[in-house]
C-alpha cells in the first residue's frame, strides 16, 4: 500500500506524519540514490498534504542509520572517471552537482515550511545525522548502545551534507571541530550537552516525545534562518575564536601530519562558512567536498578502510560450501602472554574457553590476565559487574589436557621452539576429537613445517594474532601446504566471532605483516648508519603517516628479539641473509650496552620513570658520524620508509604469499598502521601508478642500495600501465 519502498508513512489524528525508514533486505538503513529520491517525494507529499501538520522521522531498525552508502560514493568516482573521459571540461561540474544532492535535499527538508523531528532510536551516523541536523527537532533514545557520529574523516572524506555548517551553528566551534576531525562517537547525553539534540528520553517515550515537540508548536524555521542569528561563541572574530583558530591547524598537524585532506577541509569549511550566510556556507562545503572527492586519499581510504575491511570482515575469503561453525568450546594451549590474551578475546566473544598449560599455577596465571583486563574495563565503565563475571566464568584454567578433548578449535600458543611445539601438538592430538581444527599462533615458524607434527595436516592452520591482542584488530590466517577448506572456514568463522578482521596468507618466513615490519626497521637501521639524526628518522616516519617511529617500535618488540632473529636467519639461510652493519648495530646495543628495548628500560630510547617522557639515547650520536640536518632531505626519508614497505608487500604478491590486494592493504593498516591515508601498501603504489613507483624505486636504489630495486612484476605492471587492483582483481569482485 505504501508508495515508497524504503519508508512507510502513518499520519495520526493530530496530523503528525510518522515516517519510518526501514529498508527491505538490509540490516541497517543507508542513504542510496533511491532513498534520496523517495525522501524528496515524501517532502513534496508533506508540503502538498494540508492534513499533515508536521513529521516525525524514525527508523524501523534497531539502529537509526549508518549514513551514506559508501558504495554510492565509490560510484561517484566511477562517474568522475567516465565524465572525464567524455568531456573533461564538464566532469568536475558533474561531480559538484552530484556532491550537492544530499546537501540541497536536506536544505529542502528544513525549509519546506512544516516542522520535522528526528526520532533517533539507535545509532545514527554520517549522512543520517546530517539529515537529523536538518530537522527542526531532534530527540534521541537513552539506549546506552546509541551512538551519534560524523565519522566520514576516517575514510578520507568529511561531512559534506551540511554537517560542517550545522554542527558549528549548534555547538561551539571547538567541540564541532573535535567531533568532525576525529570522527568520534557521542552518546545521546553528550550530543545533548553539545547542543546537537534537544532531548534524550527513554526508548518507549521516543515517538511520543518527538510528536509532542510538534504539538507544542515547534517552529519550522532553523535558528540560522532566523534574523540576527549568531553562532555559539559569536563566530570567527571574537576573543574565544582568537584562542581556537590559531591552534586548530596545529593540533590537526600534531594528530595527522597534514596527510588527510578531508580533515583539513573540515577546518576550512567551518572557518569560511561561519563568516557567511548559511546557504553560502553550504555551497562552500560543497566546493571543498567536490575537491576532496577527487583526491587519491579519499579514493584509497574508502576502498580499503570501508569497502575492503567490510568485505574481509564478512568472510570474502571464506571457501564456498562449508557450513558455518558455531563454537561451543575453544581450547588455548600455552597460558603465556599471548595465550592468555587469546583466551580473553575468545571468552569476551561469548565462547567457552579452556586455557591449558603444563601446570595449574601457569594456567591460573594466564587466567589472572583476563581478570585484570575485566577489572580495567569495569573501572572505565565499559563492562558491567555481571558481564565481567560471566566472561571470567567462561574461562577454565587447567593443566589437564583431557579438558580440551571436545573443543571445536585448539589454538596452540606455546614457546616458539619446534621441539616444544611438536611435543605439545602430539599431546593435544592424543585427546582431541577427530573433526576439531588445530591452529598454531606462531609468528616465526612456517606452518607447513609445524603441520608435519600433526596426524591430520589438512586440519592444521596458522592463526597469527598481534600484540596486544585485545587492541589489534588484525589476524593473519596462514595456510600450510596441506591446509584444507574446512580448516580455513573454521579459522575465518572464529576470527569473525571474536570480531577481528582476517587476512589469509600463504606460508612463508615472517608471513606478510612481519616481513613488512622488518623492512621498516631495517630502513631505519640504514638511516642511522648513514648518520641521519635519530630524531629525524622517528619524526620522518611519523610525518609519513606511521603511528610509531621505527626505533620506538623496535624497542617495543625488543632489540634482543631482532638480534635473535638475525642469528636464526644466519643459521637457517646463511650469513648473506643479514646486512653485517645491521648485525653490528644490534649486537652492539644488546651485548655491549645492554639496551634490550623498552622492557629493559633502555633501547634506542631511555625510559625514565613516569611521568618523564622517553628520550632518544644520546649515545646513538656517537655510533656513527652524524649528518647536519640541512644535508638530509626529509621528504626522501619519508619516501624511503613507505617505499621499502610497499615494495616488500609487492614481493609478497609476486611470490603468491598474499593473493588479494585488499588483504595486503587492510593487513598493512590494521597490522602495523601503515600510513592509512594511502589506503595501504598496494594502494600506495596504485595511487601513484606503477610507472612512477618503479621510477622512484630506481632513484632510491641508485642512492640507497639494491633493496630498492623494483621487481619484475612491478616493471611489467609499469610497462602495461596496470594496477594491483586491476591485475589481481579481488576474488568475487570485478576490478576496481
Amino acid at each position: 500500500m505504501s508508495a515508497y519502498k524504503n519508508f512507510s508513512i502513518e499520519t495520526d489524528a493530530d496530523g503528525i506524519a510518522l515516517v519510518t525508514w526501514d529498508m527491505p533486505d538490509k540490516s541497517m538503513n543507508v542513504f542510496t540514490t533511491e532513498v534520496m529520491d523517495e525522501l524528496d517525494r515524501i517532502i513534496d507529499q508533506v508540503v502538498a498534504d494540508a492534513a499533515i501538520k508536521g513529521v516525525v522521522i524514525t527508523s524501523g531498525k534497531s539502529s537509526f542509520s549508518g549514513g551514506a552508502d559508501l558504495s554510492m560514493i565509490q560510484a561517484s568516482f566511477d562517474l568522475l572517471r567516465q565524465a572525464q573521459a567524455e568531456d573533461p571540461a564538464t566532469a568536475v561540474q558533474k561531480l559538484f552537482d552530484a556532491a550537492g544532492r544530499m546537501t540541497w535535499l536536506f536544505r529542502k527538508l528544513e525549509t519546506c515550511g512544516k516542522p520535522w523531528v528526528a526520532a533517533i532510536n539507535g545509532t545514527c551516523m554520517g549522512g543520517a545525522f546530517e539529515m537529523s541536523l536538518a530537522c527542526h527537532g531532534r530527540v534521541a533514545s537513552s539506549d546506552k548502545a546509541l551512538k551519534i557520529a560524523l565519522p566520514e574523516v576516517k575514510v578520507g572524506i568529511f561531512p559534506g551534507a551540511g554537517g560542517t555548517q550545522r554542527v558549528p551553528r549548534l555547538a561551539n566551534a571547538q567541540d564541532a571541530l573535535q567531533m568532525m576531525t576525529t570522527g568520534q562517537s557521542l552518546t545521546g547525553a553528550r550530543a545533548k550537552a553539545m547542543g546537537l539534540v534537544h532531548q534524550v528520553v527513554e526508548p518507549d517515550q521516543l515517538i511520543p516525545a518527538a510528536k509532542q515537540m510538534i504539538r507544542d508548536g515547534l517552529k519550522p524555521v532553523q535558528p540560522w534562518d532566523e534574523k540576527g542569528f549568531k553562532a555559539p561563541g559569536g563566530g570567527i572574530w571574537t576573543p574565544a575564536a582568537a584562542q581556537l583558530w590559531p591552534a586548530a591547524p596545529a593540533i590537526l598537524r600534531r594528530e595527522t601530519a597534514g596527510n588527510y585532506p578531508g580533515a583539513l577541509a573540515i577546518l576550512k569549511c567551518v572557518y569560511e562558512g561561519l563568516q557567511v550566510p548559511f546557504e553560502t556556507g553550504l555551497r562552500i562545503e560543497q566546493r571543498y567536498f567536490t575537491h576532496v572527492l577527487q583526491t587519491t586519499e579519499a579514493f584509497s581510504m574508502i576502498r580499503s578502510l570501508f569497502v575492503s575491511m567490510q568485505e574481509l570482515g564478512k568472510g570474502a575469503r571464506r571457501p564456498a560450501g562449508q557450513p558455518k561453525v558455531e563454537f561451543r568450546k575453544v581450547a588455548v594451549v600455552g597460558a603465556g602472554f599471548m595465550g592468555a590474551s587469546i583466551a580473553y578475546v575468545t571468552a569476551a566473544a561469548g565462547i567457552p574457553v579452556v586455557l591449558v598449560d603444563r601446570d595449574q599455577q601457569a594456567a591460573d596465571k594466564g587466567r589472572t590476565h583476563s581478570e585484570s583486563l575485566v577489572k580495567a574495563a569495569q573501572q572505565k565503565g565499559r563492562t558491567t559487574e555481571e558481564e565481567g563475571r560471566a566472561l571470567l566464568e567462561r574461562i577454565t584454567a587447567t593443566a589437564d589436557y583431557s579438558a580440551l578433548a571436545d573443543a571445536d578449535l585448539v589454538i596452540e600458543a606455546v614457546f616458539e621452539d619446534r621441539t616444544v611445539k611438536k611435543e605439545v601438538t602430539e599431546k593435544i592430538e592424543a585427546v582431541l576429537k577427530e573433526d576439531a581444527i588445530f591452529a598454531s599462533n606462531t609468528s616465526t615458524l612456517p606452518i607447513t613445517g609445524l603441520a608435519g607434527n600433526s596426524k591430520r595436516p589438512d586440519q592444521f592452520i596458522g592463526i597469527h594474532f598481534f600484540s596486544p591482542v585485545e587492541k589489534m584488530m588484525l589476524v593473519e590466517v596462514i595456510l600450510g601446504k596441506e591446509t584444507g577448506d574446512r580448516a580455513l572456514a573454521t579459522a575465518l568463522d572464529y576470527v569473525a566471532t571474536i570480531r577481528k578482521t582476517p587476512i589469509v596468507v600463504n606460508d612463508t618466513r615472517g608471513f606478510y605483516v612481519n616481513r613488512c615490519v622488518f623492512r621498516y626497521i631495517a630502513e631505519a637501521y640504514d638511516m642511522l648508519i648513514e648518520g641521519v639524526p635519530a630524531a629525524m628518522i622517528e619524526n620522518a616516519a611519523k610525518m609519513a603517516g606511521m603511528p610509531v617511529g621505527p626505533l620506538s617500535l623496535n624497542d617495543e618488540v625488543a632489540v634482543d628479539l631482532s638480534y635473535k632473529i638475525f642469528k636464526a636467519s644466519i643459521a637457517d639461510l646463511g650469513p648473506e641473509s643479514v646486512d653485517p652493519r645491521h648485525m653490528a648495530l644490534v649486537a652492539g646495543l644488546v651485548e655491549k650496552e645492554g639496551r634490550l628495548g623498552r622492557k629493559a628500560g633502555k633501547g634506542f630510547y631511555d625510559y625514565p620513570p613516569k611521568p618523564a617522557k622517553k628520550k632518544l639515547w644520546p649515545g646513538l650520536k656517537d655510533l656513527y658520524p652524524q649528518k647536519e640536518p640541512e644535508e638530509v632531505d626529509v621528504g626522501e626519508l619519508k619516501q624511503r620508509i613507505l617505499v621499502t614497505i610497499a615494495l616488500e608487500a609487492a614481493r609478497t604478491m609476486e611470490e603468491g604469499i598474499v593473493t588479494d590486494p585488499r588483504e595486503a592493504d587492510v593487513g598493512s593498516i590494521l597490522g602495523f598502521g601503515f600510513a592509512p591515508y594511502t589506503g595501504g601498501t598496494l594502494s600506495y603504489i596504485d595511487g601513484m601508478g606503477a610507472k612512477a613507483f618503479v621510477a622512484l624505486c630506481e632513484t632510491l636504489a641508485a642512492k640507497y642500495g639494491p633493496h630498492f630495486q623494483p621487481t619484475p612484476l612491478l616493471k611489467d605492471m609499469a610497462a602495461k600501465g596496470e594496477t594491483f587492483y586491476g591485475r589481481f582483481a579481488p576474488q568475487g569482485r570485478k576490478a576496481a
Partner: protein, 402 residues
C-alpha cells in the same frame, strides 16, 4: 639616485603596555602627534614642505585605524598639504617606513619625508586587527604558524642556547640600558610625553628593570611551554625541523621584548630637502633590503636579510662598526651573533627591547635613531639595523654618518 639623509630623529619614552602603564591614557594618535610636533619644532620644519608622513603601525584598528599618520598630522597642527600613509610589515614596520620614505627620496619623488611608527599596545592588544595568517586554516597550515615565543624556543633548541645563555643575555640588556640612561646617551632623542597643560606624563622608559640578575630571572616560568604542548605548536615546530626531538622552552617575560606604548619619527630628506630645512645631515641611508625566511623559525630573517644586503652592496661584516638587532627574544640575538660570529660588544650596545620594550610599529625607527646617536658618541661610521618579523621575514638598513 639621490642620496637620502637623516636630519633628525625623536622618540617617546616607552610606557608599560598595560592598563596601569603611564601612556595608557594617551590615545595612539596623540603619541604619533607628539613625535611629529617634536621633529617640526626642533628643526623649524615648514610642514607645508613635507612630502609625506609614513608611519608603521601593526594593528591599525580602532583609535589607531584609518591612516593614523594623516590623523596625527591634524592633531599636531601640520599643514593640510602634508599627506600621510600607514604601513605594516609587523615588527619591522618602523624601519620599513624609513626605507619606504628613503626610496621615495632616492627616486626623486620627495624631498622631505617624516617616517616612523606608533603602537599603543596597552590600548590595542596584539592581534586586534585579526588576520588570515593565524586565523585561516588555508594560510595557518602552510605557514607553519606558531606563537612567536614558540619559534624563539625552537631557535634556542635548534642552535643550542640554554636557559642560562638567554638569561645572561637579558641581564646584560638590562645593564646596558640602565647604563645608557644614567649617562644620558638617549637624552638627545627621547622627548617627554606631556599633557595638554605641559605637565609631564612620562619621560623615561617605564619597562626597564635595572639590576635584574640571573637569580631573579631563574624564578620565572617558561612562557611558551603551555601553548607549545597543549596548543599543538611543538608538533608544528618539530615537523618543520624534524631533527628536534623536543623543544627546550627557555623564553619568559624576562628575556623577551616588553609590551609597551611608544612612537618615533625620523626626519629624512634629500640634499635639497636639507637646504629647505637649513639643516646639516647627521647620517645617510646607505642601503636596505627585505627578505622572507623560514616561517617556522620565523625570527631568523635578520640573518638572511643581512646576507642579502652584503651580497647586494659588496660590504662585509668588517665594514659594520655597530649592529642594532631588535631584541624580540634573547635567542634571536644569540643566533644572529652565532651565524656571523659577531662579538657581543658590537651589538645592541645600549640595550634593547628586552629592557626597554618593543612598541611594534615604532621600534624600527627607534633603534635606527639609537644606533645613529651611538655612532656619533663613539665617533664611528657605519651601522646595520635589522629586525626579525612575524611569518618569517627580515628587514635591514645600513646607515652611515656623513
Amino acid at each position: 639616485m639621490t642620496d637620502v639623509f637623516i636630519y633628525d630623529h625623536v622618540r617617546t619614552p616607552r610606557g608599560r603596555g598595560k592598563k596601569d602603564g603611564a601612556l595608557h591614557e594617551v590615545p595612539s594618535v596623540r603619541l604619533a602627534a607628539k613625535v611629529l610636533e617634536a621633529v617640526r619644532d626642533r628643526n623649524g620644519l615648514d610642514t607645508e614642505k613635507v612630502d609625506d608622513i609614513i608611519m608603521g603601525c601593526v594593528d591599525p584598528v580602532m583609535d589607531a585605524g584609518a591612516v593614523i599618520p594623516k590623523a596625527a598630522a591634524f592633531e599636531a597642527g601640520y599643514s593640510t598639504k602634508a599627506p600621510g600613509m600607514q604601513i605594516s610589515r609587523f615588527c619591522a614596520s618602523g624601519l620599513d617606513a624609513v626605507n619606504f620614505g628613503a626610496a621615495k627620496i632616492a627616486q626623486g619623488a620627495d624631498d622631505i619625508v617624516v617616517a616612523g611608527g606608533v603602537e599603543s599596545m596597552s590600548r590595542i592588544g596584539l592581534g586586534m586587527s585579526g588576520g588570515a595568517w593565524f586565523m585561516d586554516p588555508s594560510v595557518n597550515f602552510p605557514a607553519y604558524f606558531m606563537p612567536q615565543g614558540v619559534s624563539a624556543d625552537l631557535i634556542a633548541t635548534k642552535y643550542g642556547f640554554s636557559r642560562d645563555d638567554v638569561d645572561a643575555y637579558a641581564v646584560e640588556s638590562q645593564r646596558r640600558a640602565a647604563h645608557a640612561w644614567e649617562n644620558g646617551y638617549f637624552a638627545r632623542s627621547v622627548i617627554p610625553v606631556k599633557d595638554i597643560n605641559g605637565l609631564v606624563i612620562l619621560d623615561r622608559d617605564e619597562h626597564m628593570r635595572p639590576g635584574t640578575d640571573m637569580q631573579a630571572l631563574a624564578s620565572l616560568q617558561p612562557s611558551f611551554q603551555m601553548p607549545g604542548e597543549m596548543g599543538g605548536f611543538e608538533a608544528v615546530a618539530i615537523q618543520a625541523h624534524p631533527e628536534i626531538e623536543a623543544i627546550n622552552y627557555v623564553h619568559h617575560a624576562g628575556n623577551s621584548s616588553g609590551i609597551v606604548d611608544g612612537a618615533a619619527a625620523v626626519l629624512l630628506g634629500s640634499k635639497e630637502g636639507g637646504s629647505i630645512l637649513g639643516a646639516k645631515p647627521r647620517g645617510r641611508i646607505k642601503a636596505f633590503a627585505n627578505i622572507g625566511s623560514d616561517p617556522a623559525l620565523m625570527l631568523t630573517g635578520p640573518v638572511d636579510v643581512t646576507e642579502k644586503l652584503f651580497a647586494r652592496t659588496g660590504m662585509t661584516l668588517s665594514d659594520i662598526d655597530l649592529f642594532e638587532l631588535n631584541e624580540a627574544f634573547a635567542a634571536v640575538v644569540l643566533r644572529y651573533c652565532q651565524a656571523f660570529d659577531i662579538p657581543q660588544d658590537r651589538i645592541n650596545v645600549n640595550g634593547g627591547a628586552i629592557a626597554m620594550g618593543h612598541p611594534l610599529g615604532a621600534t624600527g625607527a627607534m633603534i635606527l635613531g639609537t644606533v645613529l646617536d651611538e655612532l656619533e658618541r663613539r665617533d664611528l661610521n657605519t651601522a646595520l639595523v635589522t629586525l626579525c618579523i612575524g611569518a618569517g621575514m627580515g628587514t635591514a638598513t645600513i646607515v652611515e654618518r656623513v
